[in-house]
């Protein structure tokens, strides 16, 4: 069985589960945000039941916050009232709040071997820590809030074998963009993407979060990384002790295998209007950029900000271009302050945003006008994603984003550092 199937089988109380079977399994954590929680709460109320747990439900008000308008303020208010009434322990807003998929691991809420369901498609991020984590809609989340269970169709799995070492300025974002480019936006539909290989030594925990974050962009149900020394170090740092878990290439566990050699990987840029349109940075078009965004649940962690600062140090953002930097959580923000990264970015001319999803989905904190082009470390570049339907979004890693904010056009960091 794939690791994902092992986790499902264990939760379902079965010896094993086969792809295509259905299981109604207990879940360890249920997550929703300011956009998906109101609907989930409405559905929950229809059951006329108590919440299944006060401390396994998590609400993070991260999408349209700090409140971008009255309607968003009312959504937040609705969730807040519910959380108070039900005495929900893990309710995050204001100064405690970060982008959910950056925040939850930091809070020690994600354990290997757990099942996490979230009202957000990028819930798959937690696969980086060996959790079976998947995104669902609000009705599923409302039902999970009542029953502590979710129905699942057992997925097949694709094994992604990584070898080699990252070159300079290449990281997790480039790996996942390359993979999505290889298999397409529906190349892994209904499947788990499980990662193995010597090349994983090149991926720190932040890089693994980045990769797992975007598996959904290939249609995958979830991503899965082994629990090795790097994972254990991270988990220990957030107060979790557990065992190692390998991903073994068992011939029955995986319906397909894909190999990626990091030695051959250059920084990737996904051209609009789809994340599968990835090209090496040297082949990216020389478009004039209006905005660069460094942040999001994909690349809003401390390693990402360090990379960006390293590239931009001592340089200035191009005239007429807005660089918006979004530390993914209060911890990331504070760490970046301590390391002097925020000052480097401010000196370069960046706007520093509070932790929020903001511009990633065209919400606020950097929306685009007709005809504008943005380069972003976010995860989607569909038509109208960041604003007007006649704006365009290119996706990349933080180093490319920082370099490009200086030149005003899509740039390989090696050219300016």
């Amino acid at each position: 069985m794939s690791v994902t199937r092992k986790i499902i089988a264990e939760h379902a109380g079965r010896e094993s589960v086969k792809p295509g079977e259905y299981a109604f399994v207990p879940v360890d954590l249920v997550l929703a945000n300011d956009v998906t929680a109101p609907l989930a709460i409405d559905e929950f109320e229809k059951f006329d039941m108590e919440v299944f747990s006060r401390d396994k439900i998590v609400f993070v008000l991260d999408h349209f916050t700090p409140n971008r308008d009255i309607a968003s303020a009312e959504q937040c208010s609705y969730v807040r009232q519910f959380a108070l009434k039900k005495e929900i322990v893990h309710f995050y807003e204001g100064g405690l709040c970060g982008i959910e998929h950056v925040l939850l691991p930091e809070e020690g809420l994600i354990r290997p071997g757990s099942i996490v369901v979230g009202g957000d498609s990028h819930t798959c991020t937690y696969g980086a820590l060996g959790s079976f984590a998947t995104g669902m809609g609000s009705t599923d989340i409302g039902a999970a809030m009542a029953f502590g269970k979710a129905w699942l169709r057992v997925p097949e799995a694709i094994l992604v074998r990584i070898k080699g070492k990252f070159r300079r300025w290449v990281g997790g974002k480039d790996l996942i963009l390359k993979l999505i480019g290889m298999i397409g936006v529906d190349g892994a539909t209904y499947r788990s993407l499980e990662f193995t290989g010597d090349g994983l030594a090149s991926l720190g925990i932040d890089a693994r979060f980045t990769v797992a974050n975007m598996v959904v962009e290939a249609g995958a149900k979830n991503g899965m990384f082994p629990v090795d020394e790097k994972t254990l170090d991270y988990l220990n740092s957030v107060g979790i002790q557990c065992d190692q878990m390998d991903i073994e290439p068992d011939q029955f566990g995986y319906s397909a295998e894909i190999g990626i050699d990091l030695d051959e990987l250059s920084p990737q840029v996904a051209l609009p209007p789809t994340p599968e349109n990835s090209v090496p940075v040297e082949d990216a078009p020389h478009v004039r950029l209006d905005q660069v965004v460094i942040g999001s649940c994909t690349n809003g962690r401390i390693s990402d900000l360090r990379q960006a600062a390293e590239v931009i140090k001592g340089k200035k953002v191009a005239r007429g271009l807005r660089l918006i930097v979004i530390p993914g959580s209060p911890r990331v923000y504070k760490q970046a302050l301590k390391e002097g990264l925020i000052e480097i970015l401010l000196d370069a001319g960046a706007v520093i945003s509070p932790p929020t999803c903001g511009p990633c989905l065209g919400g606020h904190m950097g929306v685009l006008a007709a005809g504008e082009k943005a380069l972003a470390t976010t995860n989607r570049n569909f038509v109208g994603r960041m604003g007007h339907k006649e704006s365009e979004v290119y996706l990349c890693n933080p180093a490319v984003a920082a370099a490009s904010s200086v030149t005003g056009t899509i740039t390989d960091p090696a050219e300016i550092v």
Binding site: G20, Y22, F24, V35, T36, P38, L39, D42, E43, K46, F47, H63, F64, D69, A71, S72, E74, Q75, G118, G119, D120, S121, T123, G135, M136, G137, S138, T139, D140, G142, A143, A146, F147, K149, W151, R153, V185, D186, T189, Y190, G219, K221, T274, L361, G362, G363, R380, F382, V383, G384, R385, K389
Partner: protein, 164 residues
Amino acid sequence: MHCLEGKAHKLGDHINTDLIIPATYLTTQDEFELGRHLFAGLEPEFAKKITKGDIIVAGENFGSGSSREHAALAIKGAGISCVVASSFARIFYRNAINIGLPILESPEAAMAVGDGDMVRINLAEGKIEDLTTGQTFQSQRYPDFMQKIIDHGGLVNYLKEENV
């Protein structure tokens, strides 16, 4: 047996949730309010072209992207009676079934039905009839488990009535 009948609105492949309902509209849970902005990512006034009972006919990977259930709600709220597609993205597929929005998978129908054709659908049999051209198509059967949720009109009713 009750059949759905309406005009087909033909769309392409990879119609993602940002096209179906741009995120900026996700400040309401009301399906009619959401429905007013249906496909605003494609055409700002698309919803005005919809008559209650109309059918969407789309290509591959319909509903890809976000988990936003608002996408399925907007489709329902705009008056669409059924979505026929070559294939569906997994979260959208779940959401549609969970809220009782009929969806059918049929690559043949997705290819052959033309924009504006009158289409009749027999959900119980999974039969799609293009009344304009006379062609009929058979969709994939739902797995039994999903059929149960559909028969109950959605996940909430299923869980309440089945006492799982």
